[in-house]
Symmetry: C2
Subunit: 358 residues, 2 copies
């Protein structure tokens, strides 16, 4: 088991990464009071809920099982968590435990941020994507019909448990979606990690445990460094959103739940690379490397059928990175170096949208 520390002053917390952590990691020091609510979903609960309950200390343990999918990341489902907390009379010292992927993690974290104006929570991410991304950094929230993650809070967990063995039960599509975010870390921050990923992609897709462990560790390490520098995303943290502005538009247009988040990010990253190439910042070879690694990870490299460039423009206008009407994008100055910028000519953006739109 390896431990990474996310350094955020009095909100610092450890991430445990390794195999079989349900048995080997001790959660008791991270549970303050004598109540726990486990939040999980209909897919994950049958696989891991009993296993988790068996290793918790002897406190009042309740659970709430939500439907599975991004389309259920809503205020309404959040309220089901509050209903359960109040029915079971959980007080301010309660601890929420998120057992599931990014949707469960984001909703549980937001419920913890808001319940009685803030209680503790623990993240146990069960997808590759949530292990490398949404469980690190304290971003929590729910979607709104008019925009993804528009309602939320920054709220840090007490501890994160990233157990590699739970990935054995992860569907292939979900594994690929997680790899999209892993690739993103290489593209944004670390050209050497990108090289490593290119070399080992077939092993990662084949679920080699030690390769996956290293990919998770390095991704979390990169994200933890960034979050420590910029907890509230006023600067360098924004770079982690490479591909996300295009990607969120894809998700919104398709209706949440049809494309996986990582799939939308993969196509969005290819679009960001395309625009970066049009601006003369990366070469055609660089662009082809981005397309190739996404394909190796079995990820989409085109926008969905039927989505127009007008769809993109409308949906991108509500992105959180829009400031005073000016769209800002994360683009690539090189492979391994991203920037957040509003310095791109609208014609180039239009060309990228036309190239990818139907």
């Amino acid at each position: 088991m390896q431990t990474l520390n996310v350094d955020l002053g009095d909100r610092s917390y450890p991430i445990f990464i390794g195999a079989d952590l349900f048995r080997s990691a001790n959660l008791a020091p991270y549970i303050r009071g004598n109540q726990v609510l486990i939040v999980s979903n209909e897919t994950v609960a049958p696989l891991y809920l009993d296993q988790l309950k068996a290793v918790l200390p002897p406190v009042q343990i309740d659970d709430v099982i939500l439907p599975d999918g991004e389309q259920f990341k809503t205020l309404e489902q959040l309220n089901a968590v509050f209903d359960r907390l109040l029915e079971c009379r959980h007080n301010r010292t309660t601890t929420l435990i998120a057992l599931g992927g990014g949707v469960i993690g984001d909703m549980t974290g937001f419920a913890a941020a808001c319940y009685q104006r803030g209680v503790n929570f623990i993240q146990i991410p069960t997808t590759l994507l949530s292990q490398v991304d949404s469980s690190v950094g304290g971003k929590t929230g729910v979607n709104h019909p008019l925009g993804k993650n528009m309602i939320g809070a920054f709220h840090q967990p007490q501890v994160v448990l990233a157990s590699v063995d739970v990935l054995r039960t992860l569907p292939d599509r979900e594994l690929s979606a997680g790899l999209a975010e892993v690739i993103k870390y290489g593209l944004v921050y670390d050209a050497r990690f990108l090289d490593w990923l290119e070399k080992n992609m077939s092993g990662l897709v084949g679920r080699d445990t030690s390769l996956l462990s290293y990919a998770i560790y390095r991704s979390c390490e990169l994200k933890a460094e960034v979050v420590a520098q910029d907890e509230k995303e006023s600067g360098v943290r924004a770079l982690l959103n490479l591909g996300h502005t295009f990607g969120h538009a894809i998700e919104s247009c398709q209706g949440y739940g049809n494309w996986l988040h990582g799939e939308a990010v993969a196509a969005g990253t290819v679009m960001a690379a395309d625009l970066s190439q049009r601006l003369g910042w990366i070469s055609s070879d660089d662009y082809q490397r981005v397309v190739r690694i996404m394909k190796m990870a079995n990820l989409p490299v085109e926008a969905p059928q039927g989505m127009t460039s007008e769809d993109f423009m409308t949906l991108m206008a509500v992105d959180k990175k829009v400031i005073d009407g000016q769209l800002r994008l994360i683009l690539l100055k090189a492979l391994g170096r991203a920037v957040v910028t509003d310095q791109f000519d609208p014609a180039s953006l239009q060309h990228t949208l036309t190239r990818f739109a139907s």
Copy 2:
């Protein structure tokens, strides 16, 4: 115009108190971006919305008008604010302005805390209660059918405008409800202020402008001192909840909106005084002074008809001050000195409940 500063480090903010502040106070320095959403209700908007819009700087100004009343302090109405923000494409630099009483202030503050994980807001409280209480200290939130203020956040405003002249349009019952919280400050922290209130209560009920200004200033000053010491209510701030545990039970039992919050707090404060007397902490004369000043302010000193002691016990068990199953109450050691305590015998509590319950 007088200015009080609430000292919270980089979250510090001023409270302006005085007459005709809509005209004399300049809000421009507190609006960061070029978008404003005014949140108000059906009662207040016809009286003051145009007046407010007329003095705002030339930015994009949108509004959302909610139904009036504590029964609308819900996640559903909160979502109406999010709908409007997204329909009008408000971004991270937007400023929300709460124009209304405590319900509007709490909901607007919570919407600001959650929208895009946190935007700025300004409080313009239009009731005495919200001027002296809910606009100071950053507590925001909504109710849940199983408990009041159970879902929320700590989020500080940029500035608070407490304009005394808006109280001219306040119904008598609402004025009295505000006086309940003013009296509370005297009972909890300041025996001299309590004396002043006893002497001037008929003038306050008669809406004497200078008396009201002083009562608001001193109440805000006391609350600002407490909040500066204890922003997240881990200690001394809890004392401000004198009468609130009993009061919240009354509100829950009656259905939100039938009793005003201040009315429930008044009856709850009398109950807390009764229990304090039973414990031998205050005298019978002290208790009678509490009853008398509430009556002078035209406030209820009895629990509502039909509410049983079992109702109280059930509803008090979900109070946020319950820790690990142990009920804690704010009680009086003297007039002007309150304590938070679990050191009361259950029989005395039962006697108080029996005395006040039906």
